[in-house]
Symmetry: C2
Subunit: 149 residues, 2 copies
DNA sequence: CAACATTAGACGTTATAACATAAATAAAAA
DNA sequence: TTTTTATTTATGTTATAACGTCTAATGTTG
């Protein structure tokens, strides 16, 4: 549906302004759908991202700073996130012996299993984007890459 | 820059998967820039959206439910948002005489003034999107509208 | 009218983002 | 070596999103 109708707003100042709102709105639409998916696994999107990064490192550990750098939306809150994941038994955390300031975070077997279950269902994205053709998806990816310069 | 390089991740499963991550990442990029803009006016993006809706209604009031419906990302927290805006003197709030369950929220003169100052600078979006041509902006808007079906 | 259902909003809780600051440790400089 | 600086993480604060529950007011039905 056209954005103007969905948010019941008068016209935009120009196409650039509409694009900004469109990005915000489309992101919201996407994350609502994703949240439903994540919720069925009792996990949040942010926590899922952390687990993905940790699986990428496995069997090596990741420091808190590495997690921060790799996060999709950067944030300064990785310590508390890791603690919540530890409470769920999905990661483990120890002080690094070489540099006692650092913390080594590793994904547990239980965490790996959870991701495996979620991988199978990840094809959901294709259903979610059923309204556009593959060629349009590719075009969108190119344009989005280009926006950010 | 290509998304794969920016987030230092291996290839995506397919273009649909990449699109999902690209939307999240581009939204993050955009809201970081917007946050800087809003911060210079001592206001948040969400609060700005509420003020915009209230200015659209002015001089009529808006109920809390109307604000919820019109928000870009729906949420159930409009009461507390309005209270924070009231503390800043940007809105006023009274109980509706006809239906005492409802609350009538209005933007104050001070709120209108703030928006006026911010309008002047809103052209920043054009600078932000300087990397793509107008035709590409229009194409993006069409495709984003189409994604959501 | 009385009993029940619905609606509008407030508020409590948890997870998060963005910010600042503190504390511990390591590295560098004097 | 002692002092200073930088790094890494933890923690406190505020604003928010998403959830649920509660209460007051209004509507509906018998």
């Amino acid at each position: 549906m056209k954005l103007e109708d969905e948010i019941k707003q008068k016209k935009f100042k120009n196409d650039f302004h509409k694009l900004a709102v469109n990005l915000i709105y489309t992101h919201g639409w996407l994350s609502n759908h994703q949240a439903d998916f994540f919720k069925s696994f009792d996990i949040t999107g942010t926590q899922y991202n952390i687990l993905r990064i940790l699986r990428g490192q496995h069997p090596n550990p990741a420091s808190i700073n590495l997690l921060k750098d790799r996060m999709l939306d950067k944030m300064s809150d990785a310590s508390r996130l890791v603690e919540r994941l530890k409470n769920k038994g999905l990661v483990e955390r120890e002080i690094c012996p070489e540099d006692r300031r650092r913390v080594e975070v590793k994904i547990t077997d239980s965490g790996i299993e959870l991701l495996k279950k979620m991988d199978d269902l990840e094809d959901k994205f294709e259903n979610l984007f059923a309204n556009i053709k593959l060629s349009e998806v590719k075009m969108l990816n190119e344009l989005l890459d280009k926006i950010r310069g």
